[in-house]
């Protein structure tokens, strides 16, 4: 194979693969609702507080930006957020799981707030 042919092949491969490597899976809210059972034990209970390592309310997720939810889950998976329970849960999720859960929780902001 000539140098020129290798160059062309490399360019084609780069163009073909680069977008795929960057693309995030599309989230599906219905699929997310079926995967959310382990989340809902805490995040689905209004005012639910964890007791360890300190007592504070688990965050409300309804209406959060899906892209931000995925970023938060990825940060837990990388260990950039300290809460141990969420680290282990995030570590068990695939990119598709994260996208689906994010799509599910992304729905549900208060309508009055959306108008602002």
């Amino acid at each position: 194979m000539s140098i020129r042919a290798i160059r062309i092949a490399a360019a084609v491969a780069f163009v073909a693969l680069a977008p795929g490597a960057l693309a995030q899976p599309q989230g599906n809210a219905d699929a997310g609702s079926k995967k959310a059972s382990m989340c809902q034990g805490c995040h689905g209970v209004e005012g639910y507080r964890i007791a360890y390592p300190a007592v504070y309310a688990v965050p409300r997720l309804g209406g959060q930006h899906p892209q931000y939810i995925v970023a938060a889950l990825q940060a837990y998976k990388r260990g950039e957020r300290p809460y141990a329970t969420m680290r282990s849960i995030a570590a068990s999720l695939s990119d598709q799981d994260m996208a689906d859960l994010a799509a599910y929780y992304g729905q549900g902001a208060q309508r009055s707030a959306m108008a602002k």
Partner: protein, 109 residues
């Protein structure tokens, strides 16, 4: 002060101490202090940019803890690490109280 009241006061104090609850923030003060936050998080915490979380309607104690974690460095985010350096514990409580008082996020059941 009667005896029952004293006992109730001690129990309440113990409960608050256990919860690690700081002095409750002042939402009006928090609104004033939130001006620098608005560029990313929106005037009331309903950010329109997907990279930045919505804060409106979030639980105050969760928001306060997140700010403290950014400041201590256990929660890592380069943008927020820079923003929290000048915040006092009272600032954090006020900001948390302000965003918690706004309408936005809900508990999805």
């Amino acid at each position: 002060m009667n005896r029952k009241f004293r006992i109730a006061a001690i129990v309440a104090l113990a409960a608050f101490g256990y919860a690690g609850v700081a002095a409750a923030g002042n939402p009006a003060q928090g609104r004033e202090k939130s001006k620098p936050c608005a560029a990313c998080h929106g005037d009331t915490g309903m950010s329109s940019a997907a990279d930045f979380p919505r804060l409106a309607g979030q639980h105050a104690d969760y928001l306060e803890r997140a700010l403290r974690e950014y400041k201590s460095g256990v929660r890592k985010n380069p943008v927020m690490a820079g923003q929290v350096t000048s915040l006092t514990p009272a600032d954090m409580a006020d900001l948390a109280a302000f965003y918690a008082s706004q309408q936005g996020l809900t508990t999805r059941r």
